[in-house]
């Protein structure tokens, strides 16, 4: 005779039929439903159907299975899932038969269904590398199993999605006689994608931790290397291919989102307009110019600078356009040669996702005049334009960071500084520019201070 153990959690719709199905099998003398503190009527329905019900001490499939085994009065135990109705005819008999005939100590039930994603992508590749002896199992994660109580008692159960694969590996390592039998066709709902990540993690952990515990000396460097190589290549391929679905728009700040340039407004406010004009005339190196302009802001407080930006006018429909792009799945950011204090303020105002700019240094709330230039503005061997200091380098960095292909980027700018980024972005838009070359390079040009025409690219 045999016992059927059914771990259950909120299965009032199916549990009654599953218990009746078990009792219809002549070999079954006992059905134990281990309830994981269901909030519905599972317990009562199971009792009414004739099952012995145990309320599990704590949640988790592994603990429920262990409690079911302890409560079982027969040597042969069959585990069934509570959420399947109907089971194919004779499933219990098929699972138990090899044990009854003393041809096996543990039987894994396989059933016809679409291949499970975690089974095919995670469990099978790992088993092939670490436990090749189990690689032939078509459904190593199946929860429909049968086995001898004496073997189950020697197993340490995982309490998550790793439980079923853990039992299979333990049986294999105990050198139990393990078989897989086909029990027919079962309608099994695929798990939502959100659950797949968790499941993949728990299944991998179960396989690898069993391998570490039982055969650490056998887990060769080659296995570790091959797992790392597979994982790295999969990541690369996924990253590469998924990047074609991500989209991003980067907008310059001065004279684009803002009606004027921030530094020009500061020059008016703090009276260094002449010095600024002289600097712009005499200093052609963009790095030195940025550094020297920063010195003009020495001793200005954060409040002084925020006061200037808060009084500056922004393009009137920018917020609306940003929210439209975000709704269409775009990442929206500001890419500017201004200061991050200011671009972050503007980012908050317009609801953008990120901003990238230089760092004006402060000490005791006052600007020191030092400007730190983030490394991503500087060229690298991968730089597509080759410029030593350029917005395109920062754009490439952003594409890498957010996994967006450059082809899927829209860049919007107005000045000579933006020519390069507008050339290399998938779509370059010149915005109210006075730079003739920029207008020629850009794929599109907006001549009025209105961001609405940008929406046609969304």
């Amino acid at each position: 005779m045999l016992t059927v153990v059914i771990p259950a959690l909120n299965e009032e719709n199916t549990i009654g039929q599953v218990v009746k199905y078990c009792f219809a099998e002549p070999l079954v003398s006992e059905v134990i439903v281990v309830d994981d503190k269901s909030e519905d009527n599972t317990v009562n329905i199971a009792r009414e159907a004739g099952a012995k019900v145990i309320i599990s001490a704590s949640r988790g499939k592994g603990i429920s299975m262990k409690e079911g085994i302890e409560a079982s009065t027969n040597e042969i135990i069959v585990f069934l899932d509570a959420d399947i109705d109907p089971y194919p005819e004779g499933a219990i008999n098929k699972l138990a038969a090899p044990i009854v005939k003393d041809e096996a100590d543990f039987v894994k039930g396989a059933f016809a269904r679409n291949a499970g994603r975690v089974t095919e992508l995670v469990a099978k590749p790992l088993l092939t590398i670490i436990f090749p002896g189990l690689a032939h199992f078509s459904q190593p994660l199946s929860g429909m199993i049968a086995g001898k109580k004496t073997f189950f008692n020697r197993i340490e159960f995982f309490n998550d999605y790793g439980v079923d694969i853990g039992i299979l590996i333990d049986m294999y390592l105990m050198k139990a006689r393990v078989q897989e039998v086909n029990i027919g066709y079962i309608e099994n709902k695929s798990k939502p994608w959100q659950a797949l990540g968790k499941m993949s993690g728990e299944v991998s952990r179960a396989i690898i931790s069993k391998a570490q515990r039982y055969q650490s000396h056998e887990l060769s460097q080659e296995s570790v290397n091959s797992m790392e190589a597979i994982q790295r290549e999969m990541n690369n391929v996924l990253r590469e291919n998924l990047s074609s679905y991500q989209k991003m728009i980067v907008i310059d700040m001065d004279d684009t989102i803002l009606i004027n340039r921030f530094i020009d407004e500061c020059a008016k406010e703090f009276g260094f307009k002449t010095k600024l004009d002289e600097l712009r005339y005499s200093e052609k190196d963009p790095i030195i110019l940025t550094k020297r302009v920063g010195l003009l802001l020495k001793n200005k407080t954060i409040d002084d600078l925020l006061h200037v930006i808060s009084n500056m006018e922004m393009a009137e429909n920018i917020k609306e356009v940003v929210s439209h792009f975000k709704a269409k799945g775009y990442l929206v950011g500001i890419l500017s040669h201004s200061y991050s204090l200011i671009t972050n303020y503007v980012k908050q105002q317009i609801g953008a996702d990120f901003s990238v700019a230089h760092q004006l240094e402060f000490f005791d709330g006052k600007a020191t005049g030092e400007v730190s230039l983030p490394s991503y503005f500087f060229g690298s061997p991968e730089s597509i334009c080759g410029h030593s200091f350029c917005k395109t380098n920062a754009l490439q960095y952003l594409c890498e960071k957010y996994n967006v292909s450059l082809k899927n980027c829209i860049a919007v700018g107005d000045s000579k500084d933006d020519r390069c980024m507008i050339t290399y972005a998938g779509k370059g838009v010149a915005f109210c520019t006075t730079d003739e070359l920029l207008e020629k390079i850009a794929d599109s040009s907006i001549k009025t201070r209105n961001f609405h025409p940008l929406l046609e690219f969304a």
Partner: protein, 267 residues
């Protein structure tokens, strides 16, 4: 226009000139990790094949060249029937081709006339650059790129030159006729120079050439410096002088072994 090459089309008709075009296309594909599409498209003079023979020949072509692709690109084959120009234009549009590479006959005059007309037409019709190569033009890299400037800033040529220049570490030579300088052309040359510097760091040199015809002077200059590529725009300024050349739409390209890239300037 794209800032990278993703797909290169080579129209094939199983003649000797295909060999040079395919070799050049594969060389580019290995540099830019892009796909090469070998597409059979019959022209007026080419031999007709039965479907079965055609498939067999394409398969032979594919198996011969597929191992030469060593980047991340792939080799595709296909065939078109009907009007060559419109079928090619449809294919280019449908498969988002970034470049067409075509081989030029060395001796067959009629083929050369047809090719020269069809290249300018294809470049005009599809807006996709067409690279014409002849047997002698199989240089390994485009180290010296000659870009004649006339009338307007050659934006698309410059972008393409920057792309190739980055990959092959090339020098770009802007050339213009001295007689045209003083007017608009001088400022165009300056703007072109500024534009290259704005979008890349490839070395650029500007030359003012003597002569009356830009195509002819460019050709002479290119031969003198052993240029590896000439970029032209299929407009009148780039036609070689003489009645015959005018009648046959002979772009400056076809008088030379140097590969010539025909790019429409306007988007």
């Amino acid at each position: 226009m794209a800032n990278n090459l993703y797909n290169i089309l080579v129209p094939v008709d199983f003649t000797a000139k295909n060999k040079w075009a395919i070799a050049k296309a594969i060389e580019l594909a290995n540099n830019f990790h892009c796909n090469v599409h070998l597409v059979y498209v019959p022209n007026l003079l080419s031999r007709r094949y039965s479907n079965e023979n055609l498939m067999k020949k394409l398969e032979q072509l594919r198996s011969f060249y597929k191992d030469q692709i060593c980047g991340q690109g792939a080799l595709e084959t296909g065939y078109l029937s009907g009007s060559k120009q419109s079928e090619l234009a449809d294919y280019i549009k449908q498969h988002e081709m970034d470049l067409v590479v075509t081989g030029l006959s060395k001796f067959n005059l009629i083929q050369r006339i047809i090719s020269s007309i069809s290249i300018s037409r294809l470049a005009r019709k599809t807006n996709v650059p067409v690279l014409a190569v002849r047997s002698g033009g199989l240089v390994c890299h485009f180290k010296k790129i000659v870009l004649p400037v006339s009338g307007e800033i050659p934006i698309r040529q410059i972008r393409l030159a920057a792309l190739l220049g980055r990959a092959f570490k090339s020098t770009v030579y802007f050339v213009s006729l001295r007689k045209q300088v003083g007017g608009n052309t001088h400022s165009i040359l300056e703007s072109a120079l500024e534009m290259v510097q704005s979008i890349s760091t490839i070395p650029v040199q500007c030359f003012l050439l003597e002569g009356q015809n830009l195509a002819k002077s460019t050709l002479e200059f290119s031969k003198k410096i052993n240029a590896d590529l000439i970029m032209v725009n299929p407009v009148k300024d780039f036609y070689l002088p003489g009645l015959w050349n005018r009648l046959t739409d002979k772009l400056l390209s076809y008088g030379t072994k140097i590969p010539v890239l025909t790019v429409m300037n306007k988007n």
